[in-house]
Amino acid sequence: MSQPFRTASGGLVDRGRALAFLFDGREYEGHPGDTLASALLANGVHRVSSGIRTGRPRGIFAAGVEEPNALVQIEEPFPEPMLTATTVELYDGLVARGLRGQGRLAADPDPGRYDGMYAHCDVLVIGAGPAGLAAAMVAASSGARVVVVDDQIRAGGSLLGTGEHLVWVDRVTAELEAAPEVRLLTRTTAFGYYDDNYVVAVQRRPGLPEHRARERVWRIRARRVVLATGAHERSLAFAGNDRPGVMLAGAARTYVNRYGVLPGRRAVVLTGNDSAHDAARDLAAAGVEIAAVADLRDGWAITGVAGTERVEAVTLRAPDGIERRLEADLLLVSGGWNPVGALYSQAGGRLVFDPGLAAFRPDGNCRQALEVAGAAAGSYKLGVCLAEGAAAGKRAAEAAGLVAGEIVLPAVTEPEVTPPLAVWTLPGGDPATAFVDLQRDVTVADLTRATGTGMRSAEHVKRYTTAGTAHDQGKTSGALTSGVIAELLGVEVGALGVTTFRPPFTPVSFAALAGRNRGMRFDPVRVTALHAWHEANGALFENVGQWRRPWYYPREGEDMAAAVLRECWAAREGVAMMDASTLGKIDVRGPDAAVFLDRLYTNMISTLAPGAIRYGVMCRPDGMVFDDGTVIRLAEDRFLVTTTTGNAAAVLDWMEEWLQTEWPELRVHCTSVTEQWATVALVGPDSRRVLATLAPALDVSREGFPFMTWRDTEVAGLEARVCRISFSGELAYEINVSWWDAVTLWEALLAAGAPLGITPYGTETMHVLRAEKGYPIIGQDTDGTVTPHDLGLSWAVSRKKADFLGRRSFSRTDTARPDRKQLVGLLPDAGTLLPEGSHLLTGPDETAALGHVTSSYHSAALGRTFALALVRGGRGLIGQTLWATLDDGVTPVAVTGSVLYDPEGTRRDG
């Protein structure tokens, strides 16, 4: 018989449709509206999982996110580790199994998609139970922008479990859904509460096609938050309280009323408060036989639970002292209710122990703009919840400057409440089977042992026993654990406190948190205007900062070494070209631009004449090199500054910071123009001929266009700025055109240079060419501990300027030492290519390094390998032999100056 424990009618499941699923290898059916837990119970399945340490059978204990026991692994449609059966919405084809402790990750890539959403609102209501719905309705009546989130598939909260006022719930839900400024998000769990009312929530979207996001993380910024998160029922610590069939009384009531499921045939109820009596009434009405209602306040006690796979009998001791064994398959327990204070705690609020409630509740004094309404505040009577919610909604609307209207709340009549008992441990039986944290298998015996070691703090005991650290993060066990520890230590539970709640409230998948920021969207890729050409022409690429730059262009059959040698030859002996568009470019203008740059650069910029170009170095105030590049003077009051590719944004920020915070009197504006100018380096002895072909109006002669000057002209019919600068030591030009014209220029240069064998080259060749000339690359030949003097750039450090950033630091004891690490060249034995990162020793058996290799290459021009290195006192070691570490062993190297190619600079002018 299918679903023998399903009632004939009632509840919020669609009995007209069957959903087939597989659990622990057996086929079952449930209905839309079911959770996996309710469907299992409908089929009479109580044992779901096993205790992580003890292996004891475990059942379904709760009906919501607080479930500590019923851990399952989803296997199909796609493996998902460790969910609680009480939160898995049933779907057709679900395959799951019970867990003992560890979940399993899929071995295949997740086909699911994930996304993020943003919302801003006047009022965020968390929880769509009676308090939350009342708050939302009142707030909405003011015209405020309202967001309501609730983790269930429909609004109603506790009313879904009690089955009361569902007509009102449906009407309010419909009105909220129709209101233009209201967003009602079901299946959405608020899991994090951060600074300034920034709340994050995860929305589950089952049943959508694969191309749509299955989960979305909402980031909600709210003027005001109403926490209407309800309360969770807690257990009692007694021997055998973990057996399948032991269930929270409120959960059983929910299974009957909401899911139309009988969690058993014959029940014993054990409680210290009124709510379980209501549960017993509802269960009885649905056909469950109530064997006894044992209220601890009346002197009842429990002395035994029989059954292993399932509760079989319960032994009670009546107030008159007589023990009775009652056959039962269900033991309903209620140790009281804990207001759900996790988000309140995350928001910076404190939870205090309320003896009247016998629970920890929000202290009502949180610094964030929030309030707590209903059971979350410790108000368990429905009428009070509704009124508190309505009042909270009204205040929230008023805080947004709006006026709320009146709404009609359901009329509620409730009996007087008898105060609950603050009870934690029930005496008798083996404390090693009296469980406090079911999921971590932590018992009263474990807590006793922990407090016996000398531990006095709940945090210590928790860590010693692992209580409260499991999947449920102690939702049912936290207060109970504190209560038991307090009893053991003989202190007030309020003084001991509960451990701190941290995000997330419920577990959230990594993928949901990552959202769509994966793969290429993890970090934007920047490419130049010529990128498509590079790709089409076989370039391999290198990531430099966010940029993707051509690394080298291998031809058929070439490896990297061969390609780079060919490219280098072309630059040294013919003509070659490179896309240099990624260089950072900053337009610096204003009457004080020259003064400004004098302060930033180590060398003098103000003496630069319009039309001329100077290399410059920037340091941080600590004297260490920060960036370098060229400075082009366009006019008296205008410069174009270039930066390294990776540092462009940092340099612009640097300039802005100094201008705004230190030198606001300087009349200077800085603008990034990196992506306005495309730049092509045209390099080699034949570069002049190629340029002359394309720029007929330009005097390209040595005298007419001297080194370190620039000209505005037309190149290939395009408006262009041509700079006579060289990063290779060869005759070279940097041709700048509008980003839009880059391809036209590039193709014109290729065509014009074709007869001369013009060769595109990438960053690797650029690195070799500059290294042969001893030009350092900031970030490769430097590491944040290197001064311009260390690099041999003292010529670029002004002695005339009164001050510039970094200057004062050069005279500190350590910075002024003569034996600092200095940039030198190294010549290893012919054919040996030193590893970049190799360390340098004074002898083959030494272990104290003098420095390390920063750059190392095969040189086409030198016909050998060479390297650059930072070496302690390196300039004083020129001519001597050091030993460089290899992956295995060492090799001798001769120390030389850092300029290995054309030290006289004869090739610069062609």
Binding site: Q102, R104, L105, S457, S509, L513, A514, Q780, T785
Partner: protein, 405 residues
Amino acid sequence: MAGGLVDHPDRLWRNPEPAAAYDVIVVGGGGHGLATAYYLAKNHGITNVAVLEKGWLAGGNMARNTTIIRSNYLWDESAGIYEHSLKLWEGLEQELDYPILFSQRGVLNLAHSLQDVRDSVRRVHANRLNGIDAEWLDPAQVREICPIINISPDVRYPVHGATYQPRAGIAKHDHVAWAYARAADALGVDLIQDCEVTGLQISGGRVTGVHTTRGTIGAGRVALSAAGHTSVVARMAGIDLPLQSHPLQALVSELLEPVHPTVVMSNAVHVYVSQAHKGELVMGAGIDTWNGYGQRGAFHIIERQMAAALELFPFFARAHVLRTWGGIVDVTPDASPIVGLSEVDGLFLNCGWGTGGFKATPGVGWCYAHTVAHGEPHPLNAPFSLERFVTGALVDEHGAAAVAH
């Protein structure tokens, strides 16, 4: 066994009332403070010692870190103290007779760019000269060590290779703290919790005691070991330090079947992750940029962290974050610690460990105890003086290759 608990001892420590005075007061009952007290007693015979803790023992960064232990730092000075520490870790379980779950499962530091490769090889060569086990692995070798890393060249930041230190690993932080606490207690050290230092008693340029929420306690010497709160305590003695305290967040997943056999760290993508003994993935996030003492950080840091993790480990997609938390890390300008003397006689400094404090616990405890006992630095912490900020002789692990965690 899944979720199995180690067998903790039945007795850990006394809970004594503070005495009127001690030879040495250690301010801060975290890992460093407890280890320092232990080595003061064990190595130097100084047992009239109190460790004052404002909350519960080891409840600060010791309880909040991701427990990675390694010594493969770039600079000789760093390598010296971290390798000393690692050697102590290797004998610690026996020394303290406590199951600290020290697992030498190795650490991979990934390289994602050509410059990362240069920096990594540089560090490997430096490490080897310092007697530290270090290897450079290509992507295929990385995959052999950790089969779940995505080494596809088509991802945003491909894995170009990694450095590998086989002796590196993880340990269980609480157990380490309790092991030191129990051993120190057994040697006569008073561990005093819920005792916040509210002032330092200084007379004639010399520290003579501390004011606390449990009264004034005399002291011959005072050793600060207050991590993120060091600035606050040092300020009580009028001492300014080059420290900034930042939030640093971390997180764990649910318990999972073993998938991740080693420790993976990536500076560029910013991931560091291991799988702890019980099965949870333990992951560190980025540092929040702003100063903060609130032990919590911002959510976008966590989101970024998850995106980065899935770049490297696509298999983690459906794992769940169970809990996030934050510590307070005190960071120096060169990302290296300050361990040594202060301008006040008898007052000693141990701070600025940033994200590196846990792995240094035995090493710094050893060296700091020596410094306090002798009134002068141990050779291994001598380079980490406050004076370096004046001379400029920084130990710049920021600007260098080693990831700063």
